[in-house]
Symmetry: C2
Subunit: 268 residues, 2 copies
């Protein structure tokens, strides 16, 4: 089911600036037993992105009401897209443009293995993330880097690809954020110049802090990857997946990862 | 008028990957007296972009036939968008996805002044272009940098904003390419790391070469801008606009610019 600007339909205006320029933002949200999980964090990020791009934020109540129209009693995924709207002349846009809202339901992904329990194998992608501080952190619709990265492999044993910036620092997965454990501390890449600041990343940082684990946002050079005792990736749908391999580097599933999975209590 | 996959309509599938990820390409083409100008160069670039992004190229004949459905006897603009298609799971896409074609007619822009004759004032934009060689040169749908750049000013006396990369090199205008004249030689920024390789840019380089003017693609540091005798910008719609000012730097409209405008014989 798809709801476009409050109406159930599966079409949008051809002149929408989302398709013309990727001029908008999105959120991918887990809905379990009728509740959109981490809803307020998703709305925080979406509103922040709207402010940074100067897009009129449609409002939490409206987006929640439309999300709840998708149904409530099982487990599914909602994608909320907010574009700047339709029209404008070229790249310029009028100040009063009404944004378009696209709320899409999709099935819970049927991952082939027990990734939460057994962990995942990953690879380093060849394409690097460009440095663009003005877009960093946002979940905007300009996602060709991720599309190209994900197209680099089709080996079903590889569950995620990891992306570096141009300076050989690890930044994120194609669809996830990454954490490493270094002598008991939790490290995650700083995202001031590229990358998406995931809602689950923020949630895990909060849970770790509440459990007394020190969390640092910092540079994680690819050359250091052999020095970490645990690695995991996060997103709103998967929760926490332990990483047991990055190409030929192997990792155990450690106690920090297991403790955070337990704190998260995520049903995926 | 809008033609979507051969049918006259103004809606596209909400699940189109153009809107989800900016996963596609576009061309903006001048149509004059029934003829789409520089058609084969536009199709060369579009096909090259499809190859680089692994999108199935719909074919020149089909796109030309659909473009000609928009009418023929006056002067207008056609925007041709080709997206990867609808669907896939997240960033991953199936290998056999059918692309979506969106062919849109719009009015010839009513520029407020005789920019071809009198030249334009420009400004340097604050936002910098990110370095991403894997996307450089293509006219893809990830255009938030241009949208943000164009939103930096609303002074009607400024006809174009010029964009630098992170290393203080001039790259292009928000909607145009740029050329400078340096001791009789024509220079234009190399676009290996960022920027759109405009069809009119290629055309002007060809015309200049045929006229015996040396053309170099090179770095153009912003610090050198005071040293050039002529500056102009190009695109498929505007042809050649002389630049008479970049912020407080002033330029005359010189003979290389005038000669190339004459060679171009562009009706805009």
């Amino acid at each position: 089911m798809i709801i476009v600007n409050g109406q159930q339909q599966d079409l949008i205006p051809a002149q929408d600036r989302g398709v013309s320029y990727g001029d908008g933002l999105f959120e991918t949200i887990a809905v379990v037993d009728g509740e959109p999980l981490l809803w307020s964090m998703h709305m925080d990020r979406l509103e922040d992105g709207c402010i940074r791009l100067n897009i009129a934020f449609p409002g939490r109540e409206l987006l929640e009401a439309e999300t709840r129209q998708l149904g409530g009693d099982d487990r599914f995924i909602v994608k909320v897209i907010v574009t700047r709207g339709s029209g404008g002349r070229g790249y310029a846009y009028p100040p009063d443009l009404a944004p378009n809202r696209i709320i899409m339901r999709s099935e819970w992904p049927d991952y082939p293995h027990d990734y939460q329990g057994s962990g995942i194998q990953t690879r380093l992608c060849e394409i690097r993330l460009a440095r663009q501080p003005r877009l960093a952190g946002m979940k905007h619709l300009n996602r060709l880097e991720q599309v190209m990265a994900r197209a680099e492999w089709d080996d079903a044993d590889i569950a995620e690809g990891l992306m570096l910036d141009m300076n050989n620092n690890l930044i994120e997965g194609t669809m996830s954020n990454i954490f490493v454990v270094d002598q008991g501390k939790l490290l995650t890449p700083s995202l001031d110049e590229c990358g998406v600041a995931g809602v689950q990343r923020r949630n895990v940082m909060k849970l770790a802090g509440e459990s007394g684990i020190v969390v640092n946002e910092c540079e994680i050079p690819v050359a250091e990857l052999g020095n970490y005792s645990e690695v995991f990736v996060t997103n709103s749908i998967i929760g926490i997946w332990p990483v047991i391999a990055i190409d030929s580097l192997k990792y155990p599933i450690g106690q920090v990862t297991r403790m955070l999975q337990k704190s998260l209590g995520h049903p995926a």
